[in-house]
């Protein structure tokens, strides 16, 4: 069955530290890849997405992610985190062609950034 794994469930960093959150998926065909963020008390927001083209994608708030097809991975990175990055981060994929595809989710990573 298709699945998404996020390696880190809880991450605690100090401000200005670098961040990398791992995400792997299991599906051999066409995928669209997403990172969503949920700030405390807010709704899920799209951080960035990969559909095709350049495997290094840039999102909002200085986040980026790299799609490595051979490793089935889509890791999220940020060179220097801020206290305001404290949130829950979710990796998700859709599989196959077409726009009306369900999202398959990872468990999420809770990031706490200490000032």
């Amino acid at each position: 069955a298709q699945s998404v794994s996020q390696h880190n469930h809880h991450v605690i960093l100090s401000e200005a530290a670098s961040l990398e959150l791992g995400c792997n998926y299991s599906y051999g065909g066409t995928v669209n890849l997403f990172w969503y963020v949920q700030y405390p008390g807010q709704h899920l927001q799209l951080l960035l997405k990969y559909f095709s083209g350049d495997p290094l994608v840039k999102g909002i708030k200085g986040f980026e992610a790299e799609f490595i097809k051979s490793k089935f991975s889509f890791n999220l990175r940020k060179p220097s985190v801020q206290w305001s990055d404290t949130a829950e981060y979710f990796c998700a994929v859709t599989t196959g062609a077409g726009n009306n595809r369900k999202l398959i989710w990872g468990l999420g990573t809770s990031l706490a950034v200490n000032p």
């Binding site: 927001q45 799209l46 979710f90 859709t94 726009n99």
Partner: protein
């Protein structure tokens, strides 16, 4: 910026009761979804909806669940007879060009 809105934010109900969770998708979106997240577990897909009919549903979405777009703006999820295990956060989403936009969720507590 247009948003998906969900009401109520928190719903408490007794086991066996019917609940209706409401969502107003972004107005020009055509695809709609319901997901849920049980505490400590992954977000799970329930159902997708397009052109006034279900396009896909998961194993979770059994006969106790139904969806409706009653008036061209609202998109509702009905659970006919709630069970304790239906306690979860329920998220509505609508999509455009393959990107899903989410509401803030409804926390359903079944007692």
């Amino acid at each position: 910026e247009p948003e998906v809105t969900q009401t109520p934010s928190h719903q408490v109900t007794q086991m066996g009761q019917e609940v209706i969770l409401r969502c107003v998708p972004i107005s020009n979106h055509l695809y709609f979804y319901w997901y849920r997240q049980i505490l400590g577990q992954k977000v799970e897909f329930l159902v997708s909806f397009y052109n006034n009919e279900i396009s896909e549903k998961s194993e979770i979405f059994d006969d106790q669940f139904s969806v409706e777009r009653p008036d061209g703006s609202n998109f509702t999820l009905k659970i006919r007879s709630t069970k304790l295990e239906d306690s979860a956060m329920y998220f509505c989403a609508s999509s455009e060009e393959g990107i899903q936009y989410f509401g803030a969720g409804t926390r359903l507590s079944v007692l």
